[in-house]
Symmetry: C2
Subunit: 352 residues, 2 copies
């Protein structure tokens, strides 16, 4: 007989968007971002099946336009000076499902993002050990995940401009929340590019190649490009200023009485400067309370206390503004592949 | 170090809609309905916290307008003649999220349904042992789950008309898929009302009361009522004829080449008689292939082979018709609480 009577415990689960490859959302409406997000509910976004672990997985090769190519193994990396940083990672397709003119692709809602503490080695430190040649323009990062894309067998590969690669906050991480990064999130090495959308933070990082040209891999010049309505295009890079209402949910029947409207806000450059809430379809705005002083590369949790009155419906909008003066638009800038959605989020709820 | 390298295994999860009380969807797009659905991914729909198990949980009392009130305990029930039946259970709020004019309440998508093998005792057998008094009109079923609703502390209670209660297929189940029903799904006893929406299949069933009046509990006369636009209202009872496309997903970028469009279809009375698919926005229809001869109370899995051509977009609609001639409408009958949605499902996909 089933005597597991502790099973009254309720856990929010990842929301499955695809099984092959695995794409699942963080259950963002049912967890807190005040502490770091647990690895087990960190969103998963893959282009290929999970790579199989081999001895080669534990090495990191740096080559190309350098005076001294280097091969690090796992224990070498762990001996180098390290740093820990709390950093959010958000998929550039986060919120794609909300484009009014629908876009093909994974229909991510609000949960293609997570945040926690990454520990690793500064990429700058490693690159400087190689003695970079003059004229290097980009650094290519190759993951061990691979498969067929547009009839070609390729690895997941992305580049950074050399200036960004040398930014002291870019790191090669080997721990998440105090433990080795799990296999599903890039074990043993994951590039972490704070402030950029998640495609830049290459998992299962295995090779770093310095080049003098522009990298033209499929995930650089085909995917992860904004193709705008006016025919122009632009690389996807920095996270847009954004916010999400975690609770209540859109179209929820809430109980009358005291509630906290709560959520998160974030930006890719600078820090969030304010979060505002509107109850009159964005005519007037009031400040939400921030949980802490907003920091670079991190979400800030916010809340707004309210008394819901039985029978009433509420239209609730939230927008974030950052220290560079950027603010969420009423409408997201439509682009063919559906990246960077950051329109003001609004919900309606009704009190019972 | 994290050496769990089997973690490349991918499992679809329940989709969380609410944590208190627990409401989670079956990951319907990522599992098969050909075999019974595993208990662990069976959708969960609760009104209250899970009831705590006490000695009283193991008894079932039948009283009211009967000559002989009865009290069964768990082992009594298990000694009575039993039967097993594969039965689908679908929440009446399944697909609520798809009403064009949005409805407040849990925003269920396609996964508020599951199907498997229930084993138990015919309700009719038990009721007849009580010698039902003349004039009994309804049978009330009380679950052990309870809480505050509209300022009153109440149990989850529902009634059936006496004729329905005496239908030989209505049973008091104690096993699901060959094991005792799990705590989250009603252990030890769950009423199973084949062909009716899930609210009728009362979990943690503890008392059965025969009455001569109309039962007016909140879950009978407030919730689970169709309130139509024309001011009329009607009790929610039989499942509507319905179907869901499981794969591909709406707005999916599919690979070019051979695919199987696949899904499920079901109805509450009679059996599915055909499933049709349209590629021209419902002007013309072609038959899908049914996995087996459709049976009463069960979904039938269907498929349609197709060759997707690179660069093309496809508009795909599916509709089911049942043996009573009922067919899915182009638009669902809107009702204030959002029950019984069964409009023709359509998706668009694009081949890469």
């Amino acid at each position: 007989m089933n005597m597991n009577f502790n099973s009254g415990k309720v856990r929010p689960h990842l929301t499955t968007r695809s099984v092959i490859p695995e794409n699942q959302e963080t259950p963002i409406h049912f967890i807190s971002f005040i502490g770091p997000v647990a690895d087990t509910i960190f969103y998963r976004r893959n282009h290929f099946p999970y790579p199989i672990l081999t001895p080669e997985s534990f090495t990191l090769k740096i080559s190309g336009s350098v005076d001294r190519a280097l091969l690090f193994n796992y224990s070498d990396l762990l001996k180098l000076p390290s740093k820990s940083k709390r950093v959010l990672i958000e998929c550039s397709g986060n919120k794609r499902a909300y484009f009014v003119e629908k876009v093909f692709g994974e229909q991510w809602e609000n949960g293609a993002m997570s945040e926690g503490i990454w520990k690793g080695v500064s990429l700058k430190t490693l690159l400087e050990l190689t003695r970079i040649k003059a004229g290097v323009s980009e650094v290519v990062f190759r993951g061990r995940d691979a498969g067929v894309k547009s009839s070609q067998y390729i690895h997941f590969e992305r580049s950074l401009p050399i200036a960004k690669a040398l930014h002291p906050d870019v790191m090669i991480a080997y721990e998440y929340n105090g433990k080795p990064i799990s296999h599903k999130h890039g074990f043993p090495f994951r590039l972490i590019v704070p402030g950029w959308y998640g495609m830049a933070s290459v998992k299962w990082l295995n090779e770093i190649i310095l080049i003098k040209d522009n990298f033209t891999g499929a995930f650089q010049t085909d995917d992860y490009v904004y193709y705008f309505r006016n025919g122009k295009s632009e690389q996807v890079t920095t996270n847009h200023v954004n916010s999400t209402i975690q609770q209540p949910l859109d179209k929820q029947l809430v109980k009358s009485g005291a509630h906290n409207i709560r959520g998160i806000a974030w930006t890719g450059s600078g820090a969030v400067s304010k979060v505002e809430i509107s109850f009159d379809k964005e005519d007037s705005w009031e400040p939400a309370k921030l949980e802490k002083t907003p920091k670079e590369y991190q979400t800030v949790s916010w809340s707004y206390p309210i008394e819901f009155k039985s029978g009433n419906a509420y239209h609730i909008s939230v927008r974030a503004t950052d220290s560079e003066g950027k603010t969420q638009p009423a409408e997201a800038l439509w682009n063919k592949k559906g990246y960077g959605y950051n329109a003001i989020m609004h919900i309606t709820v009704k009190a019972e």
